[in-house]
Amino acid sequence: MQDCKVSAGGIELGRSNCVSAIAFRGDVSGLPNQDFEILALPLLDPLYNFARWLCGDADEARDLVQETFAKALKGFASFRQRTNFRAWMFTILRNTFLTSRTGLEWRRTEQEDEENFEESAVTHDTPEIALIRRADTEMMQQAIATLPLAFREVLLLVDIEEMRYQEVAGVLRIPVGTVMSRLSRARKQLREYIVVTLGVKHEM
């Protein structure tokens, strides 16, 4: 997927993929719902994907996305042009998630884990390019699923949604420095997962 920085009709669409950019042809001064639809519908898949990774449950993810669209439509009038629409939508989704059952549960438990996240004794300074190439999609999905949620969401927003660190910081309401440290720890943990999994297989 090729990166392309898109800005149209005064609305910064961010580093979205080109497909969603092409879908946007509107002038923002028209009917609000039509504009909203033009801007928001291309984000449905990315938002749902992100919701699934947050909730881990199809039904909950569906409700979360539905609620996000309802809230966003209601708030679209107050949405300021020139701010990033995609980041705005993800922020609404993330905030809605935090008030959901799973989100509340997570806030109560996992965030502590993250602070106490122990640096693994094993350090892999040497690149494991070959191993990563051997890791198939299923294994990668398992690896992502094992990440603490705080790391997973940063990783997904940066690597899948191709957001800038600054945007991620805005969506998650954390400092950019925290984005960077969580990202690097997420990647480190992924590498370790791959090395351990493939290493074990290798020995077997």
């Binding site: 390019i129 990668m140 999905q141 992924l190």
Partner: protein, 245 residues
């Protein structure tokens, strides 16, 4: 040993460096195998995450549901709201005239004609004979009205004839002729003169519309319009000239 540039590797891969720094790192990568390998590894990992992470797409029923909810919120405003706005304006205007006309003692006939004019403007088919040709419109009234009248020649003027229809005022039939001048509508009402009447006094009426009234040759004529007073009196005198015997 770890190369001091290594800290920039993930920033480089994530495209988060300033353009100048990005170029410096790119140049460094050509010299440093360690960093080049790290960049490659980072890129591979990023790619693998991207492929694996795009795992779910919205179920069709969710897409349909959201589309539906957006449409249902969207259907009402355009047509419905516009017709509502137009209707309210007309309603307020009519109500305004009714309220204003009573205390200020506007000739009730005039108020009724203004109402008739507004009703015509609001109507989907404002006239029953649609023609800009006076030789079509005038004969149409034959047999419908117990009197006849002439319509002015409009060639070389700014006015156009839109058509006409039969109207009633105080149980007597008459003609309403609809004219246009630069998008404004003008109604001319023509009735038979009654024996004992004077021309309605129109001075000091507080209507938003211009109303002219005159009597000539057994006809009572009224002109109602939101066009300028100049246009109103110009058309009125053209009409008068056409009916002068």
């Amino acid at each position: 040993m770890k190369c001091e540039w290594r800290q920039d590797v993930s920033l480089y891969v994530d495209d988060e460096l300033e353009p100048a720094r990005q170029q410096e790192v790119a140049a460094h990568l050509r010299r440093c195998a360690e960093c080049a390998a790290a960049v490659m590894e980072h890129t591979e990992l990023k790619k693998a995450v991207r492929i694996a992470g795009r795992q779910f797409s919205a179920p069709p029923e969710l897409r349909a549901g959201i589309r539906e909810s957006l449409r249902s919120a969207d259907v009402r405003p355009p047509l419905w709201r516009w017709s509502f706005i137009v209707l309210s304006i007309v309603a307020v205007a009519v109500l305004g005239f009714v309220l204003f006309s009573i205390p200020r003692r506007i000739n009730p006939e005039i108020a009724e004609l203004v109402d008739q004019h507004i009703t015509t403007l609001a109507s989907a088919s404002p006239v029953d004979v649609v023609s800009s040709d006076r030789h079509t419109v005038k004969p149409w009234f034959q047999g419908k009205l117990p009197f006849s009248f002439n319509l002015p020649e409009l060639a070389n003027s700014r006015f156009t004839l839109a058509g006409g229809k039969v109207v009633y005022l105080g149980q007597t039939p008459g003609a309403e002729l609809l004219y246009e001048v630069s998008k404004h509508k003008i109604s001319i009402f023509v009735f038979q003169a009654r024996g004992n009447e004077r021309a309605a006094s129109l001075s000091n009426h507080n209507l938003a519309f211009t109303v002219n009234a005159w009597s000539q040759g057994g006809l009572r004529c009224y002109l109602v319009t939101d066009a300028s007073k100049e246009d109103a009196s110009q058309l009125a005198s053209m009409f008068q000239a056409a009916n002068r015997i």
